[in-house]
Symmetry: D2
Subunit: 398 residues, 4 copies
């Protein structure tokens, strides 16, 4: 519950994407203003200028600032006085358009909050990383599940050695909504996600396994070494994978598995992670995000609830809470925590102060590059029958 | 995800309460704007004008519209042009001040969203009901737990007879935070809640049992007849009850129990309800609000998840969802659903159209009166050793 | 895993009841021999001699020792040489026959393990207590839920003060199987349980609320003072209650509630208990008996699992385990723990040594009397509109 | 609850293993007699004749029939009259001794119930299969988890097509008890399990991953094709694996994963399985064995409880229940279900009737061979860096 400190004004946001039928555009718009630290003032809600203007009232955006493209957006916003001009662009469009939008915004000096996967392919990601580095903008990628308070609690617990050396990680993301060829009906979400021209070379693994992998990386900080992957397409005729499993060998000798499905009947958004350390283990589950089980041999199982006042909560965990324990927080609030952390950096930048860019609280350009590398190597490994391929990217977050 | 329709502008909100140390003020402010249908433009954040102005930036309220009292607020706002003036006042102050604020606002023609318990005592509640009736304003009481999608789903299921005739209700609200005399330390929340001058004649039963009772009434629609109650104060020296249990006999012969505690170690905000009908039963739990168990003999237990796309969800359940299933919604979103439903009525009023005032989707002045009657009769019954007293108020919602 | 020590032989058992259609007879027979410490050698499996003999092979009982009545059983067994004669009689017949069987067996000097409710009415119970006292036999009542390891763990935790002073108890036993008039069909279990001539003056409260009440008494050791009860019959035409709730005031000021139902759709055998002490609270649930949640403010919730090797398990908890943690034990094993504890006493008696008769590990004649008193006072209170009546019996276990 | 039918007598059992410190010997002895269909009359409880005789009273075995070896046992039992002689031998010794015992017993014409893994290596398993085939004895392997009623319910549901074509299987067995070098202390269970001379070439994968793999095979009936495995030893100095994960490709194109751990802090005996079919999915968890979640898109999640009277339970599920729903059954009862099914076959054999030997309800010699093949190929694959190796054995159960 903080204002923007010495900046003493709200940050101004532009939204790219979010037109009719969009799910994630609305989530960005809601999360961005949850703490009243930003205001949505502009947008390129559609690649069609008329549609963009038509959607503007849905977001309370003045029609004059509803643009038909990122280029128009950048041009017109740069033309505005500094005290009206947007501070950042949120990118909530299908994957294949992320790169151009993010690059254009960053090159214009606007901070960027970009949905994942960050780009269409690794090459774009690496190029974007160059752009971001040069431009000096704040760049966040909405691997939103890292925003849950207990995920951050776990991250700090592991970083501080509470679980000891990490030996094993099991990360899962199990869904069922693409069990049928939903993309053949008029379902916008399914259509672009299963279309290699819009989604990229991976389906299930690009859409959700990346989240699970990112979560493992974010929570443990372990550096990966090699990866082996097997992808499957169970729905006949579908162009991309809808199921897969990968094995990750980490530099410290730990063994990880990442399994993702879009064809598991009735499973909604069941991402969970199990982490085994030499001193303790933990399990956290996205669908019941306000509890985390922490175990150690010889002790009762412990349930850590999202409790900002509990002595066993650490700084990162507490800072991500808005409500007392027992008053559940959920998806929107976690998403908003990504924004909140990025805002802190944006304010520092606005004030000309230095800010962390690599090992940030929010997922950043490094995570974005790692995510694209993960997708590329998974697909490549799968095509080679599961060969182990390198997975540690030179731009890895840590 | 809707704009305000033909009203074609955001609703303008004033917040009473919410200064430093307030928990619920922030919740109101956040919930009110979650769907981008309202904007917080004014407030009486403290009963001290300077403190009110000092807190204004926290809520992005112009200092000029941060007032020192509801009277100043009403006077100054009424003096503003209609297109700047607030539409409604949210009351998030300690219980003993609700009445004056709500009455003053309503008499001035402003809609009111009032925290619960609605007033300090029943007499005030009944008087306020008169005022609201005369003024014709929209009046909502934030029995916020009724805003959860699955609670509304259950309400419609029961109303449509899916569970058959309701025979038994077991409602609980179990907390542990007042297990010690927290009020003796510098804890603002504990201090006023245990002070009969601020909280009223009941402690635990006024603060939380009312929620459980309201939930039972809201979900089942059953009219109550008589109530018997036993209140206890387990923490020595505390002026008000911190535990209690009540038995409610309903007009249709159903038997209900309402049990509430503030002294159950480690229990956070564990409100749950179990409802038994002749055709089916259900259980819903606030701390895991995205699932509800529906049972019928001879069938597998069914878990209804908050799934706006599921065929088994009904209109009320679906309308209260913002996210797809598996993407959990929680406390803020439920709270915002109270606001959302009240906004619909405010817009009708603003447009001069008729709107429902009794059996509303949101808890209203009738629920507020019932809540105060519940508190009074519980305390009276307990003082008489548990005698059964009337509990059906002439102003009951239904 | 123990033999019978210096007794150096198995105990010999006779089963009364258990003929065709019986559920609980088989449970007794199985539980009694689970640890290989007893052997079933005789029985009065039916009140019809021919039927009794016909059922004998089902239990591997020699036909010659399958009797038509307890009287025949006692006469014939007493006529056998001491080294063949039974040691104890298990009573698994409908309620109205318990008294005669148990009395006859005890008077003959045979130990008794009697199903609950112990007798048809309180008068019988008190008379039986006299008989048992005079005879000096071991007498156990199968309030079998007290046999669960974590129930015993909790009992010792509370006795040793780990939870502090107990303030509140909420005990529940929620079933749904009598939601319809099952007794009108050919269902033996339902028929006698709803027949006042066989079941006694209470239905649901005699059959299951007694278990919940007994569990509360057993776990906390608190002495009760007065009770108020409301019973309901929701299935039209049924002669006995099928739902009810009671309030118990304990001598130390604690407040308890006991709620039981047989008409809650789809609820199977959902007995659970919540206990609040000044230092901690706990929750245990029969349907998931291998875990118990122990909570204290400011600490993570703790899940105690049934783990004979865990440092936090106490002697009583450990002694009731047969398997390592994670290898679930359940209903049969808990039932067998009643037998196991009774066997220890029987062996002491057989060896002429003194043995505890009042505050035993297994539920005993005192619990049986208390159970009947509970039923009588609940029915009487309910008939008087919920008056508080005395509930502490002179023969109370403690 | 059945006698042994026309056989009209109990089956006579000999136990090999089960001396002091044994866990599984006691489990066999208890499970074998749970339904009163068998009696333990002989044993080779230890490889030391004196120790064997010393342990005999613990099992109520006459000292004269407590032997020092399987050879002595076979010789002496064969010398007894047919109506006293044992019917079967249960093998509950460390892995390296299974082969000789089982082979000797089978060659002598005694039925065998053998613990898993069936033998020390694959060669022994294949040889044993020959012996069993020639001898015509009943041979069961106690992959005991297949005895849970809901596992069998699932097996029949899948066999009958209720879940459609199976696409994906995720099987897990996560423990934590070997997180430290427990084998260095005086812990018998840990000592032999981590000793390659007694346990065989695999540790964790031989001890528990085999169970998970067997469960997947048993429940789905899918025939496997190839396997890739990665084994790890996280506790320094330990000779065998304590963690691993394998990928299984099935003939029908399904993808399976099997993950097992002995080093996950606080995880007790957490075996679970998730199965995805084209029409539905299910999840079952050993630690909460009385419930199984069955899901299909667009429907509420369904919880199947172990309910012998529920219409949705099938024949296999019902037949494995002893108690009504809500009265939990657990480890012992599931174990006993293996015995129960084997007894049915033993009776047929005793009566000279034909009996199924391949696709039996109980795990059999084919499962035993498959288990050993699984271990060998997992170890080989892991040594080759995870190469895919054949896994379908000519003797596969189906």
């Amino acid at each position: 519950m903080t204002t923007n400190g010495s900046l003493n004004r709200k940050l101004r946001m532009a939204l790219c994407g979010g037109g009719q039928g969009s799910f994630i555009g609305r989530v960005h718009a809601t999360a961005a203003v949850l703490d009243n630290r930003a205001v949505l003032v502009a947008g390129a809600l559609s690649s069609n200028a008329e549609k963009s203007k038509a959607s503007a009232p849905d977001y309370d955006i003045p029609v004059a600032r509803a643009y038909g493209s990122i280029h128009e957006l950048v041009e017109k916003e740069l033309a505005l006085p500094a005290d009206q001009r947007i501070d950042f662009v949120s990118v909530a469009t299908p994957n294949h358009t992320h790169f151009e939008i993010a690059k254009t915004a960053a090159e214009a000096g606007f901070n960027v909050i970009c949905d994942k996967p960050m780009t269409f392919d690794l090459k774009q990601a690496e190029e974007l990383a160059e752009v971001v580095k040069k431009s000096g903008v704040v760049f966040a990628v909405t691997h939103n599940y890292t925003g849950y308070p207990l995920v951050r609690q776990a991250r700090q617990m592991i970083a501080s050695g509470e679980l000891g050396e990490i030996n094993a990680i099991r990360a899962f993301y199990i869904q069922g909504w693409l069990r049928t060829r939903l993309e053949l009906s008029d379902q916008k979400q399914a259509a672009w996600r299963t279309d290699p021209k819009k989604s990229g070379i991976a389906g299930c693994f690009g859409d959700i396994a990346t989240h699970a992998y990112n979560l493992a990386r974010y929570m443990t900080g372990l550096l990966p070494e090699t990866i082996s992957c097997h992808l499957k397409t169970f729905e006949e005729g579908r162009a991309l994978d809808d199921y897969g499993t990968a094995i990750v060998k980490f530099e410290n000798g730990a063994l990880g598995t990442v399994t993702a499905s879009q064809i598991s009947h009735g499973r909604e958004n069941d991402m969970w992670i199990e982490i085994d350390g030499t001193k303790g283990s933990l399990v956290w589950r996205q669908e019941e995000p306000n509890a985390m089980v922490v175990r150690a041999n010889g002790q009762p199982h412990k349930i850590y609830t999202r409790d900002p006042n509990a002595p066993h909560m650490n700084d990162m965990g507490r800072a991500a809470c808005r409500l007392p324990s027992g008053h559940p927080e959920a998806f929107f609030e976690a998403f908003a925590n990504i924004y909140r952390a990025a805002y802190d950096a944006m304010i520092l930048r606005a004030e000309g102060k230095p800010f962390e860019t690599k090992d940030t609280v929010y997922p950043n350009i490094h995570d974005g590059v790692e995510g694209m590398y993960f997708i590329e190597q998974c697909v490549a490994s799968s095509q080679q029958g599961g060969s182990f391929l390198p997975i540690k990217h030179p731009l890895a977050r840590k």
